[in-house]
Amino acid sequence: METIKLVYPVEGGDLIEAGEASSKMKLTLKKLGLPQEVIRRASICMYEGEINMVIHADGGQAEVEVDMDHILIRMRDTGPGIPNVDQAMQEGWSTAGATARELGFGAGMGLPNMKRYSDEMSIDTQVGQGTTVTIIIRVPQA
């Protein structure tokens, strides 16, 4: 299987509509016949990343690479960056506003959830320039 590369723009501003990119990726992964648990983990990671992008960075872009043995999701934004990554990784720490909380998010679970469901995760961030979160989910080999 050749590496399949997918790119999804994430629109900023409208948190109510956030999640479209994750839904599209999920459908594509289903069509590719990946295991259900892998699809579930990838979808949750991408969805949390997408919500984060809309809340904090006015959108961005998600790049997905699907390979035989792994899925890589790179979520790139040009938002304000994360001043303290260790703090952002703590469950319960959040700078999100009331709108995010009203929609059931903004409780400081986004990045921890992405870590919980991925096999590898890295955060490249610069204050004032943006953040790229890269996660890898391994596909169990039969």
């Binding site: 948190l15 109510i16 509509e17 956030a18 999640g19 994750s22 839904s23 999920k26 259900q36 579930r40 979808s43 949750i44 969805y47 949390e48 919500i51 009203e102 929609l103 059931g104 998010f105 409780a107 679970m109 986004g110 921890p112 959830n113 919980r116």
Partner: protein, 118 residues
């Protein structure tokens, strides 16, 4: 339990998916916090929630939940129901509150099985 049993137990109205009530669910989750649902639900479970916005449907979709029940008689918008229909998620509304709805289903044998549940 089938969704039909659950509908009956909670005196719920089916808003979409009336022809899918033979579906079986073995676990349930009651939450208004979508990040908690994403974090702790480990298998396709029933979602009970008092939160009414499209992210509830999207969250249920991400964790492959077969049915959402809005408690305390809350009703989703037509757009939300359409979103659920596109994702094949049954939607109901129950007049029961969260505490009572969860208690009723638990007493009939429907367990949590999320992280932290017995």
């Amino acid at each position: 339990m089938t969704l039909s049993d659950i509908r009956q137990a909670l005196d719920a109205t089916v808003l979409w998916g009336g022809d899918r009530l033979e579906r079986e669910v073995h676990t349930a989750c009651g939450s208004d916090f979508m990040s908690d649902v994403l974090a702790y639900v480990k298998e396709p479970a029933l979602l009970l929630t008092g939160l009414v916005n499209p992210q509830v449907v999207r969250t249920a979709d991400m964790v492959e939940m077969p049915c959402i029940i809005f408690i305390r008689g809350k009703s989703p918008s037509a757009d939300m129901i359409r979103l659920a229909e596109e994702r094949d998620i049954v939607v109901m509304s129950s007049p029961k509150g969260m505490y009572e709805a969860c208690g009723l289903l638990y007493s009939k044998g429907l367990r949590g099985k999320c992280d932290g549940d017995d």
